[in-house]
Subunit: 251 residues, 2 copies
């Protein structure tokens, strides 16, 4: 179990209350997850975090602090973001159990990040658009916002339950193909692809940066959701390069 | 759902930290459980409990304070107590999911209590012997003690998941396409898209029809798998048309 959990990463974005960081660390350690990444925390390190961690101080001491979500999820091939249910642009939405099944199927192959937003406002749309799936913890519609550490508890609990079930031979069924012929593209490869795509779309005069509308968001949703493998990623980069080269020859 | 949950009761025994009572109330309200009974709490009511409840103050105000576990579980036909795994006298032991399934089967008939012990020592043997079942939240053996509110979160989350599943008749929830903003593209729209794509890939000299290798098969797998909606389909067609138009202008 330990080896699989080594590929799981909990990312807390812009946390306001250090006590919640400590509570999250405790929940993680209870469930056997050890990698914590903090994106721009408002107060860290902090005695309040240490106190609430109740002995999970090793997780706090080894936590990585970074400046952006992109850095936090670098090298991850599956990124899941916690979300309130309704968004402007709908996204593939899992419940915590489905999320755990999906993650379990992938943890043996690559790094998986679980991203939790701010206490008051969650994740921004831009942050959510970096995620392959969104996970919604089912809750009372009139009182839906869980405490941050409680949300980490639910997700890591489901992860542990899925691992225990699989060790007993009850493999939960993942949502997305586990038998694939090529490794998945990493998050940073995808970001470079989106940069290249945007540049090319401007060159073919399909994208007007003065009036971009929702184009890149729509394309991002399409290509993040499909979970591109590296062969596909290389093909897409090849198509963009060929387009630019042909335009250059003619100009 | 509300009616069934009205028969569920959360009992906290001899809680030391009022913040945990507030955290438990918040977790309960998030999950739609409203009856809280406190057995001899060390500090209650308390501003700390109110603060941590983050708006679940109604649950705290309606909480019943009693002197013994016997009083707290009066009228209940099923009592489940949280327990560390090993006891001197073995007892029927469920995990949280099994507990929720058991409770769900009984909530329509009678009152069900979920009993949580002290932060430092849990429930005594005498208290555990008042319970029909014990529930153990699976956790890291070297760091097994969950925060009290986190434990309430896990149990009430499982209860809610079980209720939601039963309301849906245990139908698995599809991951994709249940809440989407646009209709899916039809098969013939997709075929026209692939024709258009192939034509354009030849024009940008990325595809050589004499030696096509697996390119169109790879692209087909990518775009069929993603289940494109009509907005996305139109964007893709628009990109192909813009590419052709720009090439034409330059030729």
């Amino acid at each position: 179990m330990q080896n699989l959990m080594a590929n799981a990463r909990i990312v807390l974005v812009n946390t306001s209350h250090p006590g919640n960081i400590g509570g999250a660390a405790r929940a993680m350690k209870n469930m056997g997850v050890h990698n914590l990444v903090l994106v721009d925390p408002q107060e860290f390190p902090s005695g309040k975090a240490d106190a609430r961690s109740a002995g999970a101080k090793d997780i706090l001491e080894n936590a990585r602090v970074v400046g952006s979500l992109e850095e936090a999820i670098e090298g991850c091939s599956l990124v899941v973001g916690t979300s309130a249910r309704s968004r402007n642009i709908p996204w593939p939405l899992l419940d915590p159990r489905e999320t755990a099944a999906q993650a379990l199927a992938e943890l043996s192959k690559h790094q998986v990040a679980f991203v939790f937003g701010r206490e008051d406002r969650g994740l921004t749309n831009d942050e959510l658009h970096l995620c392959n799936f969104h996970v919604h913890i089912p809750s009372n519609e009139d009182f839906s916002s869980l405490n941050l550490a409680a949300a980490v508890q639910v997700i890591t609990y489901e992860l542990r339950m899925a691992l225990l079930a699989s060790e007993k031979g009850h493999e939960p069924v993942p949502v997305w193909g586990t038998e694939w012929d090529a490794e998945l593209a990493t998050n940073d490869q995808m970001e470079k692809l989106f940069d290249h795509m945007q540049e090319t779309l401007v060159e073919i005069e399909f994208l007007d940066l003065e009036n971009p509308r929702q184009l890149m968001a729509r394309l991002r949703r399409l290509y993040v959701r499909v979970r591109m493998d590296r062969v596909e990623h290389n093909i897409m980069r090849g198509i963009l390069t060929a387009t630019q080269r042909t335009l250059k020859k003619l100009r």
